[in-house]
């Protein structure tokens, strides 16, 4: 009798175990569900590719508070007068047409045990796999005297949709006025971004306010594409830009939004426009979900962008601590495709190919003076590792620089179509 029971018990357990294994592919209650938090470069791409490639086999829901997305990429060109604000705006209609359910709300929390995402507007979304691509948050107190509440007076222009305030300030500068940028410490989104911005501010001022001055307080010894930017600044904007590196106190700053003053290494500078780009960390929801390390970023496995804290959660783009890739829109888009393939494979059994990542970042120094940097990456057990790279050279002829700029226009059209359909 007891033998009989235990054998029944054994058989039962076996059946339950095999049912568990098969569960992802044969869900009794319907299709597998993917929830994506954040409809930017990483999240929009991941949602679109999973919906497109699973051909309806997976239910994809994208959570994004904003009805439209303004790319940060090319927002410097907007400041320089090369793009309109409207040309940076993208809607989610293409994603919806492609089978993604878009919920315009803020994700306020993640219950990883219950596998649900809580929405700020109430209710929750269950998931089988969760993908986070929430972008960045600023590290509070990293620029003494500044908090996000001061962004109206001293804008950062470093999150989606926030660059118009900065442009307005630059346009309103008095003749011969001073523009100050507080540059961020590593790591931060878009390594050449602050320096492309300096170039574009200089371009705008050169036309309208040629005696204006630009001051950059920078905590970093070196920065991305430095030789190229410095060559370009000397050529196009001689005498206009001064960068104070850490050796001269560029990392020792305080700002006074009330009086529009910046204190650099004890010296008070009266400014007409101040662009504060603080230190950065993963978007808030990553920490709320318990996915971040002490660094403030979310560690991931390179092969599939899954969180090191939870195999059912993936983190993409700027928020991820992945290794060698820069925090760029191109990188987020590249990671999203690797992640989409892995998630689809896990939920539907579709074929998973080895991960491959790439990145190219173009920057504009002046009209038709474009430069680029790029690299290939592969997944290693430790991180996303760079394998090969290139960078534009100083002294390149004008025709090549113009062509490089034109390439960036093609890239912008390509990546935004790839993100939003």
């Amino acid at each position: 009798m007891s033998i009989h029971l235990s054998r029944r018990g054994f058989l039962g357990a076996g059946a339950a175990a095999s049912a568990l294994l098969a569960a992802p592919m044969l869900r009794a209650q319907g299709k597998p569900r993917v929830v994506v938090i954040g409809g930017g470069a990483g999240g929009a791409t991941a949602a679109r590719y999973i919906a497109k490639d699973s051909k309806g086999e997976i239910e994809v829901t994208l959570v994004e508070p904003s009805k439209t997305y303004h790319t940060c990429f090319f927002s410097n060109l907007y400041i320089g007068g090369f793009r309109t604000w409207e040309s940076l705006e993208h809607s989610y209609a293409g994603l919806e047409a492609g089978g993604v359910t878009v919920v315009h709300d803020m994700a306020s929390g993640v219950d990883r045990a219950a596998k649900t995402v809580a929405l700020a507007g109430g209710g929750s979304l269950p998931y089988d796999r969760l993908i986070l691509s929430p972008g960045i948050e600023f590290v509070e107190g990293s620029v003494p005297g500044w908090s996000e509440a001061d962004a109206g007076v001293m804008p950062h222009g470093y999150k989606s949709g926030t660059q118009a305030a900065l442009k307005a300030q630059i346009d309103a500068m008095p003749a011969g006025g001073t523009f100050v940028m507080i540059a961020p410490p590593n790591p931060y989104r878009c390594p050449p971004g602050p320096y492309e911005r300096i170039s574009m501010v200089a371009h705008a001022l050169k036309a309208k306010n040629p005696t204006a001055k630009i001051l950059v307080a920078d905590p970093k010894e070196k920065f991305s594409k430095q030789a190229l930017f410095e060559e370009g600044w000397g050529k196009h904007y001689p005498g206009m830009i001064e960068r104070i590196g850490p050796d001269f106190g560029g990392g020792n700053v305080e700002v006074r939004p009330g009086s529009m003053e910046v204190v650099i290494d004890g010296e008070v500078v009266k400014a007409d426009a101040v662009n504060v780009i603080p230190a950065q960390k993963a978007g808030m929801i990553a920490a709320a979900a318990g996915l971040t390390a002490d660094s403030g970023w979310a560690p991931v496995n390179a092969a599939d962008m899954s969180s090191k804290m939870d195999e059912n959660v993936h983190v993409l783009g700027d928020a991820a601590a992945q290794g060698d890739m820069p925090k760029s829109g191109f990188a987020a888009n590249s990671q999203a495709k690797v992640c989409a393939m892995a998630v689809r494979g896990a939920l539907t059994g579709s074929k998973v190919f080895p991960a491959k990542f790439s990145n190219t970042c173009w920057s504009l120094i002046d009209a038709e003076d474009g430069v680029k940097v790029g690299a290939n990456y592969e997944a290693t057990p430790e991180k996303i590792a760079s394998t090969e790279s290139f960078i534009s050279q100083t002294g390149e002829d004008a025709a090549l620089r113009k062509q490089t700029y034109e390439e960036s226009l093609g890239w912008y059209a390509g990546i935004t179509a790839d993100m939003f359909g």
């Binding site: 790439s358 093609g410 059209a413 179509a417």
Partner: protein
Amino acid sequence: MTRLALALLLALAAPASADRAQVAAGEAAFRKCASCHKIGPGAKHATGPHLNGVFGRKAGALEDFRYSPDIVRMGNDGLVWDYEKLHLYLENPKTLVSGTRMNFRGVRDEAERAAIIAFLRAYSDKPSDIPESAPTNPGGDPQVAAAILAIQGDPDYGEYLSGECVTCHQVDGADEGIPSITGWNEDDFVTALHAYRAKHRANPAMQLVAARLSDEEIAGLAAFFAKID
């Protein structure tokens, strides 16, 4: 240029008689080219640009000739007409410039190409500054082998791989700053990617992309993009 002037020029530039024989053979072979290209003092553009001083010049760089956008792009990327590149271009123009307007099947015979190049070299600005042949063999057989062109690409695999391409190249075929890659002839597509992989083509971003693609993957991409109009 008169024969005498050419003889003088050659006497200065290329003393060895073997070279003279090669240049003479090249002059004869150049008849294939002469319906479109003029060369010699006072040579003007015709269907193709004149070829005086072509050796060592950036591709697509003569201001008063209307080139294909593609050859200008390649020139800006770094295509310079040296010994190796002339060999590649003469063998199959599409190796280096997919959208070239030079409607020419190419010269398969290596000795004949070398002769034409020796002839072009004689009309360069300073022939004596140009090595008579590339110091090393220019990359073995540059031509994409027939066996590689014959690989049947899997368009489904190509579609998966295309994720890497469409971050920059638009699937709707728009050609804005970055060339369109949809609706191509598959052989041209394969030839172009192999040329990037072999670093015969200079665009660094494309070299990186191609470096990681196998022959089968290139065939798959060619098959996939060929289907898109």
